[in-house]
């Protein structure tokens, strides 16, 4: 048993670290850790820098343009990016639709879409959730009626993050209304410029326009843009949702926040001297450090098991990573705002110009507020507990 990385793995980590140091644009670096979401331009810029190095699609097989990383390398790569932090390669493209296309797509679809997905020439968003179908995704009602070589799509999607900047949407639609819930669903790729698509912003409590409602009104989608067989979309969606979840704990992101909280606290005088002497603060830091260490090792254990099983099936234990990962992201964001104190109050970015304290604390509130979504999106904590109870404990 050996928990430490091998020499090769450490060399790889150093290589990634050096690459980030040398290639992350200065303007993006300046925002790092101070924003809840990077802008599209930042994501694209960094994504393309990675792609030029062959690293944008870190867990794709080499044959489809991936770098051929081992599971441990993938983990190291992701954590180094989070720890910096850099923007992340667009998950919708890299973790979601890409693997669906190279696993279930036709040769023509692979030829048309794969390299553009990888390089982020086309930005994808995810059209899954609907107002009546959140955790109960299979209750979706957006319909796709076949007319010749086209589907006519009608319905409404919600929580469609980045839809307002996306070129394409991968989308679950109901192609057989008579079939049972999970059956009769198909998986379409929809060009966002198609007439009949309306994107309405949803402003979240962090003040950001990150997500949207998408209305589909007689939207015509070529049948050629359907992935796989008609009415089998649920299978592809399940594959997509189970895919590559070892990075889901995002330990590096939380570690970065704890580090920022401690360095912010160093400059703050409280009741009993520097805030770094406050016992309540110290205790919260230490308890978070312990939780994150446990989570990191749990992630490595799951990776190790996957490496040995090597069957590519999702491990229900990765629900632990999503569950505790989201909680520690929230706890670290909360800690950051707690340290910022009253200096974290301004929403107005210009205030940063006003004074040292306000500038130092910038973004703390938005990061805290943005982090509340971590236990809701991508399979809520309740869903993760259901998965553990049923999938692992057999309850």
């Amino acid at each position: 048993m050996d928990l430490s990385f091998s020499h090769e793995e450490i060399a790889f980590r150093d290589e990634v670290r050096a690459f980030i140091r040398d290639n992350l644009p200065a303007d993006i670096r300046a925002k790092a850790g101070r924003v809840a979401h990077f802008d599209k331009a930042d994501v694209v810029a960094w994504h393309r820098i990675l792609d030029a190095r062959g690293w944008a699609a870190s867990h794709w097989p080499r044959e489809h343009g991936g770098p051929g990383f081992s599971p441990v390398q993938r983990y190291i790569f992701m954590e180094e990016m989070l720890r910096a932090p850099t923007p992340e390669p667009l998950s919708f493209n890299i973790n979601m639709v890409g693997p669906v296309v190279y696993t279930f797509g036709s040769d023509a679809q692979k030829a048309r879409f794969l390299s553009r997905i990888r390089s982020l020439d086309w930005w994808f968003c995810q059209g899954f959730s609907e107002p009546g179908a959140g955790s109960d995704l299979a209750a979706l009602r957006t319909s796709a009626r076949r007319e010749g070589d086209e589907y006519i799509v009608n319905g409404q999607k919600i929580w469609t993050s980045t839809a307002h900047v996306a070129d394409w949407m991968f989308c679950l639609v109901r192609t057989d209304a008579a079939a049972k819930k999970q059956e009769g669903i198909s998986f379409l790729l929809i060009d966002m410029r198609t007439p009949g698509i309306t994107v309405r912003p949803i402003i979240t409590i962090d003040g950001a326009h990150h997500t949207n409602e998408v209305f589909l009104d007689d939207v015509r989608v070529p049948v050629a843009n359907r992935i796989g067989a008609e009415n089998r979309g649920w299978d592809y969606a399940k594959f997509l949702l189970g895919n590559e979840r070892t990075g889901i704990a995002r330990v590096g992101l939380s570690q970065g926040r704890v580090s920022r909280a401690v360095s912010l606290a160093c400059g703050i005088e409280g009741l009993d001297g520097p805030l770094t002497d406050d016992h309540g603060f110290r205790r919260r830091v230490i308890e978070l450090e312990i939780e994150l260490k446990a989570l990191e090792i749990t992630a490595l254990r799951i990776i190790d098991r996957q490496r040995r099983r090597n069957d590519g099936r999702p491990d229900p234990a990765s629900s632990v990573l999503k569950l505790r990962g989201a909680e520690t992201q929230q706890a670290s964001a909360q800690l950051l705002l707690d340290v910022a104190g009253r200096l974290g109050a301004p929403l107005d970015a210009d205030l940063a110009a006003l004074g040292g304290g306000f500038a130092e604390a910038q973004g703390a509130a938005a990061i805290h507020l943005g982090a509340r979504a971590a236990t809701i999106y991508g399979g809520s904590s309740e869903i993760q507990k259901n998965i553990i109870a049923k999938g692992i404990l057999g309850l």
Binding site: D272, R342, P346, G357, L369, I376
Partner: protein, 384 residues
């Protein structure tokens, strides 16, 4: 022991509730005028200055409604705080006139005490006041001021002597906001309320601008802090109520997996825990209200610190649960619970956060004084 509202208190609660449930929260000035009409603005001021001498329970009644309706009414900064301060200042004609004008809504005043590096410590004042032949000159910066647009008068703390954190040497001044050298900048806080920063550059004041100094000034600030903490506990209770009500309603109506999600026992139990947190907060708000005027400074701050710690915990727990149980909609601006959540985060750090008040209790040997003290007692824990 008597925990029932008096007839007057019940009437007050009803009328504030009516006022805030009728008005949209957008027009702050109009709401302020309506508050004046109801007599709410006279409430925190002493009778001998023409106020209504309302107590801490009355202030909580007002703030509970403010919280329940998520109203953006700077009642604490512009009424409770000034009332507590002016009540301890010698009565003068000028103050009587000011209080009358505040009460009828024709003039406004706010407390400008907090500073960037204060971190909840009451005596941390860096702003300097120098005595001159013609009065005083003030220099410094005040932050985190809860105020109303175009406020007329600022009650400013400044230091005549000593270093930041010293309990002696602080004075309070009445500063018209339109004096030369006073620069006020308002900005939106993350919860949508308005805060202000005031820069003071060589602000010249006449001798009668001095409201109080030294022990008197510190006592007045201490009282304003205590009264404000109590009032914000009332606001917290109102927000907790709103979040619980919204969440229970949502659980009853939101359909998923073929029925309302409120039928799931896991969610029922969490709603029950939210109720418990609300009830405990209500109890501690009551404790805060009856503790503001405790004569012993240490006893007072033990109770107030304990109240704030508990209420912060309830805010955090209920806020998180309310958002989580709403799912995606809970983190949006259009959802009341999402907006409530932001307000909870602001209230948590109003008049001392949990780090601060636990440190205060730690110094004082705990709530019951069982533990050995850890440092020379600096009663309300606000000194450096």
């Amino acid at each position: 022991m008597n925990l029932e509202y008096s007839t007057e208190q019940t009437l007050l609660a009803d009328s504030v509730e009516r006022l805030l449930s009728q008005r949209r929260a957008t027009d702050r000035r109009a709401i302020w005028a309506a508050c004046a009409e109801l007599g709410l603005l006279a409430l925190p001021f002493p009778e001998d200055m023409g106020g209504l001498a309302g107590g801490n329970v009355e202030a909580q009644i007002v703030m509970e409604a403010v919280g329940r309706h998520l109203a953006d009414v700077p009642y604490i900064g512009c009424a409770v705080g000034p009332g507590a301060i002016l009540g301890l200042c010698p009565e003068t004609l000028r103050l009587r006139e000011l209080v009358a004008a505040i009460a009828e809504g024709s003039r406004t005043a706010c407390l400008a005490h907090e500073e960037e590096h204060a971190r909840y410590r009451l005596a941390h004042v860096e702003t300097r006041a120098e005595r001159t032949a013609s009065g005083f000159v003030l220099n410094g910066k005040k932050t985190g001021i809860a105020t109303i647009d175009g406020v007329d008068e600022l009650i400013v703390s400044a230091r005549l002597s000593g270093a930041a954190g010293d309990e002696t040497g602080i004075a309070l001044f009445l500063v018209p906001a339109d004096l030369p050298g006073v620069r006020m900048r308002t900005f939106p806080a993350f919860d949508g309320t308005t805060l202000a920063i005031v820069g003071l550059s060589d602000v010249a004041l006449p001798p009668d601008a001095l409201l109080a100094s030294d022990k008197g000034a510190l006592a007045a600030l201490d009282r304003a802090e205590a009264a404000s903490l109590s009032a914000v506990c009332g606001e917290a209770v109102g927000i907790l109520e709103a979040m619980l009500d919204e969440t229970v309603a949502y659980l009853k109506t939101r359909q998923q997996f073929g029925g309302p999600i409120g039928r799931f026992q896991a969610l029922q139990h969490r709603a029950a825990e939210m109720y418990v947190a609300l009830e405990q907060a209500r109890s501690m708000a009551l404790l805060a209200a009856v503790s503001v005027d405790l004569p012993d400074r240490e006893e007072r701050w033990r109770m107030l610190a304990a109240a704030k710690v508990q209420i912060n915990a309830s805010l955090r727990f209920v806020g998180q649960q309310a958002v989580q149980l709403h799912g995606g909609i809970g983190v949006t601006e259009e959802c009341r619970v999402g907006r409530c959540f932001k307000r909870t985060a602001m209230i948590e750090r109003a008049f001392g956060d949990t780090f601060h008040h636990l440190a205060v209790l730690d110094r004082l040997g705990g709530l019951e004084g069982r533990l050995p003290r850890t440092a020379p007692a600096q009663a309300n824990g606000r000194a450096a």
